[in-house]
């Protein structure tokens, strides 16, 4: 597979205009005295960068939000510590990749619609994978079996999901190879230009990210309505919240758990499929996002689906803004620092109820 020479591959750096702006910002931050001088040209670039960080923060943040909802179901509500959530994201990316670019199952949909339909189609695949994982492995260390045990089975969950994570990462390397791939769409190299808004500042809206953003919001809303208003959703929430009580109310808890876990996996997979349209990825990609997901869920407050979404959005914002001042290698470090600050300063989350009782 080779890209047409005119279209830079996804994740290969911003379009030249942004690169130019970024280069100037670098000088700007290095010199540091520009603010005092008030050079209009640099101010314009600053505004442009901030505006672009805001739009990127919103679009990427909403995709992160969707990703966090998946973990929010599993960790926030079911209280299963799932280390392998990042690998479920990775599976979503590869599912989408094989449907669209690699296996060409959906290639008849064309390069514009295909990737996004592919992302949604990743959900049922990973849903089944997640449900099977739960049935054979995770159910043995969670739910009714461990309710009321010494540490509610967290020890076992951490270990088993760590094992799953290791198998999926390294097995992924065997099956998928370690060369990074991407779901090909010309949209990832195209942008809507908005502006000039403020004295010549232009906002770039990457088309792939923008469509991914709309799909993410749509999926999040559908999931929210399902969980909130349907019988299935109520049963899932009840079973996850208090398995023992749910059993007494005639809910088939094991099945509900399986579905809830599968849903959590599937939702994260959709987010993965969407991200696959604008980044390149390999089998180890999941790890970069595990901490983002946990940050989002903890930030949003455990047990709240909407909270998880807002948490993910916030993390997306932090990441995009840190890109303004930090070198690229340190952006991930920044997220870890933010995560540590969140759990240390406010473990109950910004929007949520108390996470742990004394």
């Amino acid at each position: 597979m080779s890209f047409p020479t005119t279209t830079p591959g996804p994740g290969r750096g911003p379009p030249p205009t942004i690169a130019r702006a970024a280069a100037k910002v670098k000088g700007f931050t290095r010199r540091g005295d520009v603010i005092k001088c008030g050079v209009p040209m640099d101010l314009e670039i600053l505004v442009e960068n901030v505006l672009n960080a805001v739009t990127a923060g919103i679009t990427i943040g909403c995709i992160y939000g969707l990703m966090c909802i998946g973990l929010g179901l599993i960790f926030g509500i079911m209280r299963i510590v799932n280390f392998a959530q990042g690998e479920l994201l990775m599976l979503g990316m590869f599912a989408s990749f094989y449907l669209v670019t690699g296996g060409k199952v959906l290639s008849f949909l064309g390069p514009y619609w295909g990737p996004f339909i592919g992302a949604i189609c990743a959900a049922p695949l990973v849903f089944c994978g997640g449900a099977l994982l739960h049935k054979f492995l995770i159910s043995r260390v969670s739910g009714l079996r461990t309710a009321g045990s010494l540490d509610e089975g967290h020890f076992g969950q951490l270990i088993v999901t760590l094992g799953i994570s290791l198998i999926l990462q390294n097995g992924g390397q065997i099956v998928f190879g370690s060369t990074p791939v991407a779901v090909r769409t010309p949209l990832s190299a195209e942008a809507f230009l908005v502006g000039p808004v403020y004295g010549g500042a232009t906002v770039f809206l990457n088309k792939a990210k923008l469509i991914a953003f709309f799909v993410a919001i749509l999926v999040a809303i559908v999931l929210y309505l399902t969980l909130e208003y349907t019988r299935l959703g109520k049963a899932l929430r009840a079973a996850a919240d208090n398995p023992t009580a749910a059993t007494y109310m005639g809910i088939e808890v094991d099945r509900a758990y399986r579905i809830a876990f599968g849903l959590g996996a599937g939702i994260t997979a959709v987010a993965g499929g969407l991200m696959a349209t604008y980044i390149s990825f390999g089998p180890f990609v999941g790890f970069d996002y595990v901490i983002i997901m946990y940050s989002g869920v903890v930030l949003g407050g455990m047990g709240s689906i909407l909270g998880a979404f807002w948490g993910g959005l916030t993390v997306g914002f932090v990441q995009q803004f840190s890109a303004l001042i930090l070198p690229p290698q340190l952006q991930n470090a920044a997220i870890f620092v933010v995560f540590l600050m969140i759990v240390l300063l406010r473990p109950q989350g910004l929007f949520g109820r108390s996470a742990e009782r004394a």
Binding site: F155, L162, G163, I291, L340, P347
Partner: protein
């Protein structure tokens, strides 16, 4: 050393010597340099596992970020050679010191968290360090050779010398671990793992012990990392701070046997050669096979034998020997306090104590006092704030307002273990035991909490067991006791610290009539010896016989207080709590 651990200690040290020598003899016969390297790496990873085991195995503080310390050791040794020309002989101790400092820096904020929050936060540290090192440009640093003076720079042409050093380091680590396991340090960690609140209420400073275990653990991990860097001669952020490194410690320990000295050794001896061989044989066709094997190994071990091979083998083939006999200690009667029955100055003076949860005033302006040698019964409907009152008094919850003094000393604002050390023993509504420890150890925790020496702690524990009549069960694991025995054991644990005041929360709950009577006899006995008791209880017939005075709580407020007979005839108490039928039955 704790009681009964002398023989255990000796057995472990002999086994260690035998295993070390056998291992070194084995290395003599291995000629292939790749296998020699594996033989050197097994003790290194075992040492790393031992270090993880001290924090996460004994103490139960699950850490997924032990690579922080491993990596700090590795980078310290490497950078010290590169920039200062400092020999690894000195670099490894330096890394050890830095590992200890890192443990303090990491532990201070992170021990505020518990359970999976702690585990997740620990994960973030090595990854943050990893990215910073990449940014600083230390992607790949190699240790330069010093051909002029090789031995001074830990350079040997004979690879078996490295194995020898590794075995020595591991042996030292095992000795440290054995000593911890058999001392009050280990008992405190085991108690914290099984029930942190109970350990605190028994006077154990959980945070301090956890911090100590992290420091020891961090130093040991840094040594392992430092030597690893010396053996491999090159470090990258991923190879020493990466996820797989942290996982290695978890995997070898869990596989071999968690909270056992030998677990990490067994795990490393099986898994490291297995994974390395697979990587060497199949790595070219199946990259990452090592990770897959580790993943399968830990899932399988978690499902088949969740505590690890060591425990499964021991439980199956080496039945636990008969319970050790209770130590011969002259059982003296508890010191009889000056029986200032009902007349002396109040021992506990509570004034206008309040505690709210959001809008709910759980305890509201509660005042009462307890005289020395008195039994005060606290009664009231469910949700009246009785347990919250106890939680505030012994420092589990902070008070909003008011004061409480024990013998004139302020109690509020102190931590739970500090309140315990002031002389306040506490039992819980739902028994909080250390289920996997024998009864005697459960009770000794209380004696250690009071700061007694090993000898005195055993004496105090044995005496407390005699007081409650559990001496026959001293060797049984607490998890096998009946409800009544558990209640008595909890009482004994509180007594072992030599308290001045006992706070008993529904000690009779769930007991049958006869069991109830026998516990009452124990309590009456304690009172005869001058103990002051404050008891929450719903069993009114028992309370009428036991208590000298009642305090009735309702909706967080004191509804009535006074002599039992007066209180139960108070109409407001009958309406709020007892009900008219009760009075009718009493009068009938």
């Amino acid at each position: 050393m704790r009681y009964g651990t002398g023989s255990n200690l000796r057995r472990n040290l002999i086994a260690l010597a035998v295993v070390s020598v056998a291992y070194l003899v084995l290395t003599i016969f291995v000629k292939n340099s790749y296998y020699q390297l594996i033989l050197t790496l097994v003790p290194v990873w075992a040492l790393f596992g031992v270090s993880w085991n001290i924090l996460s195995g004994y103490g139960g503080q699950l850490s997924f970020g032990h690579a922080s310390f491993f990596g700090i050791g590795a980078y310290t040794v490497t950078l010290a050679v590169v920039y200062w020309g400092l020999s690894p002989w000195l670099g490894i101790p330096l890394g050890m010191v830095l590992g200890g400092i890192a443990a303090v820096l990491i532990g201070t904020p992170t021990f505020r968290l518990r359970g999976h929050y702690f585990a997740l936060s620990m994960l973030a540290y090595p990854l943050a360090i990893l990215y910073v090192l990449q940014y600083l440009g230390f992607q790949e640093v190699s240790i330069p050779m010093h051909r002029d003076n090789p031995v001074a720079f830990m350079e040997f042409s004979e690879p078996r010398v490295y194995t020898l050093i590794a075995v020595c380091l591991l042996a030292t680590g095992v000795v440290v671990s054995v000593i911890i396991e058999n001392s009050r340090f280990g008992l405190a960690l085991l108690a914290i793992r099984q029930n942190e609140l109970a350990a605190e209420a028994a006077g154990i400073n959980a945070r301090q012990w956890k911090m100590r275990s992290l420091i020891v653990s961090g130093m040991m991990a840094a040594v392992a990392g430092g030597f690893y860097a010396r053996v491999l001669l090159v470090v990258t952020p991923d190879s020493v701070f990466g996820m797989l490194v942290s996982a290695q410690a978890v995997v070898v320990t869990l596989f071999g046997g968690v909270a056992s000295v030998w677990g990490p050794l067994i795990g490393a001896a099986i898994l490291v050669p297995l994974a390395e061989t697979l990587q060497a044989e199949l790595g070219t066709y199946l990259p990452g096979i090592q990770g897959v094997v580790y993943g399968i190994a830990i899932i399988a071990i978690m499902l088949v034998s969740p505590d690890g091979l060591f425990w499964t083998i021991r439980d199956r083939w080496f039945r636990r020997r008969t319970t050790p006999p209770i130590p011969v200690v002259a059982v003296t009667a508890a010191p009889v306090r000056a029986a200032a029955m009902h007349t002396g100055a109040p021992l506990l003076q509570v004034e206008k104590l309040s505690r709210a949860f959001g809008g709910l005033k759980a305890v509201s302006e509660v005042s009462f006092s307890i005289a020395e040698g008195e039994i005060l019964g606290i009664i009231g409907p469910n949700g009246a704030g009785k347990t919250t009152l106890f939680n505030v008094l012994n420092g589990v919850l902070p008070a909003d307002e008011g004061s409480a003094r024990l013998g004139g000393q302020p109690m509020l604002g102190r931590k739970t273990f500090e309140v315990c050390r002031m002389g306040v023993g506490r039992t819980f509504q739902v028994v909080r035991s250390f289920p996997r420890l024998p009864v005697l150890d459960n009770v000794i925790v209380g004696a250690y909490g009071a700061g007694l020496s090993d000898r005195d702690a055993i004496a105090a524990a044995v005496r407390a067991l005699h007081q409650v009549g559990l001496q026959a069960q001293s060797g049984v694991d607490a998890g096998q006791l009946t409800n009544k025995q558990l209640r008595l054991m909890e009482l004994a644990r509180a007594l072992a610290g030599g308290p001045r005041l006992l706070l008993l929360d529904e000690t009779l709950a769930g007991l049958g009539r006869e069991e109830c009577d026998s516990v009452l006899t124990v309590l009456a006995d304690l009172r005869r010896h001058g103990m002051t008791i404050c008891i929450i209880e719903h069993t009114m017939h028992a309370m009428m016989r036991l208590a000298d005075r009642f305090v009735v709580l309702d909706h967080g407020r004191v509804l009535a207080s006074g002599l039992p007979r007066d209180v139960v005839e108070d109409t407001s108490v009958i309406e709020a709590y007892l009900g008219k039928k009760w009075l009718a039955r009493q009068n009938a």
